[in-house]
Symmetry: C3
Amino acid sequence: MTVAAHPATAPADSASPAELYAEIQQFYARQMQLLDDGEAEAWAETFAEDGVFAANAHPEPFTGRAAIAAGARKATDDFAARGIRRRHWLGMLVLEPKDEHTVFVRSYAQVLETPRAGQAVLRASTTCADLLVRRDGHWLVLDRRIHRDDLD
Amino acid sequence: MTVAAHPATAPADSASPAELYAEIQQFYARQMQLLDDGEAEAWAETFAEDGVFAANAHPEPFTGRAAIAAGARKATDDFAARGIRRRHWLGMLVLEPKDEHTVFVRSYAQVLETPRAGQAVLRASTTCADLLVRRDGHWLVLDRRIHRDDLD
Amino acid sequence: MTVAAHPATAPADSASPAELYAEIQQFYARQMQLLDDGEAEAWAETFAEDGVFAANAHPEPFTGRAAIAAGARKATDDFAARGIRRRHWLGMLVLEPKDEHTVFVRSYAQVLETPRAGQAVLRASTTCADLLVRRDGHWLVLDRRIHRDDLD
């Protein structure tokens, strides 16, 4: 095998680049399914206790898991009351491992919305810049910055 | 390496989580390309002989490969006659291996449609719940349940 | 483990199917992020010096890295002047390794466009047929053929 294309991604005692890629892509899949299924509190558990969620669509970042959960719960309840199903697609991941337990990931996200008995629409296109940390064997978001393409 | 985030995914004599992820993601890519290329019968071969395809958009499930092929052939011919190209994107896979030869996968799907000389549109957002089985070295769909987000 | 579903993808002295999949998917993620970030020249560096970029939306292919860079620079500047952010999603990859350093990949692509302060839209659905080569440890596009679904 060759890993020459990813010289920084395989410290000797760590996951291979392929293992890391599969772990992180599935971390995101689980995380987004939780949010879209309305499990706001379980979704917030995928952030570090001291995690930060910042977005150029929000005036202030959410800091700490409790604040992140409260923000997600409010949004989740609002969409449910309006009969709108959201789906967050996150893809085009570029991984930059920092050390064995820290990886920076820049990715794209699509937010799809489907009203009950209505037409699915692409609501927003964004980038997502995440600092992920592995604690007790679980990946968690330490810092997330969402940039919606329509906003400065 | 650590696989603590996927404790159930690596029985000692089986594929690693990364190998399984790459196999399944590519299984879906091949499967959807067959369908979108109009190869309805070859697409049906990716289901088990006794496979089931159920969808909340259909009054009854299709049961058995022959019925699945016939349903796909009819839809394929209808879209071709209307000059519409479909593309099925399946992503955000969450894998839950049941044993060495069985894996449950919950994923999202987008259905894109492009009319000849017209504008591509997002037709539908769905979830896909699949029970996949490995028989003679090939992954097959034993049970698929598609849930369109606009329908109950 | 079994690799029976990918009999051609694991020559003994080469990357495993999972390693190859992770490398190629991330190659595409980096490549598309460069283009969408306006780094037309850096994007062109992901093509072989003698690479070809053909599309059914273009009257003639771009041949050679300089021509590919010039074409991308022009498009990039045009979109920037119009205040439109593009995002290229490439997914549903089917890999067909030809030898240890050459792989054919057929995939799907979505082109999203978001005007400043405006609504994101799906601009086009395409297929992408790539011949990738590994030179000096880096994957490069030797030949790319883009087929937009709305055009013959």
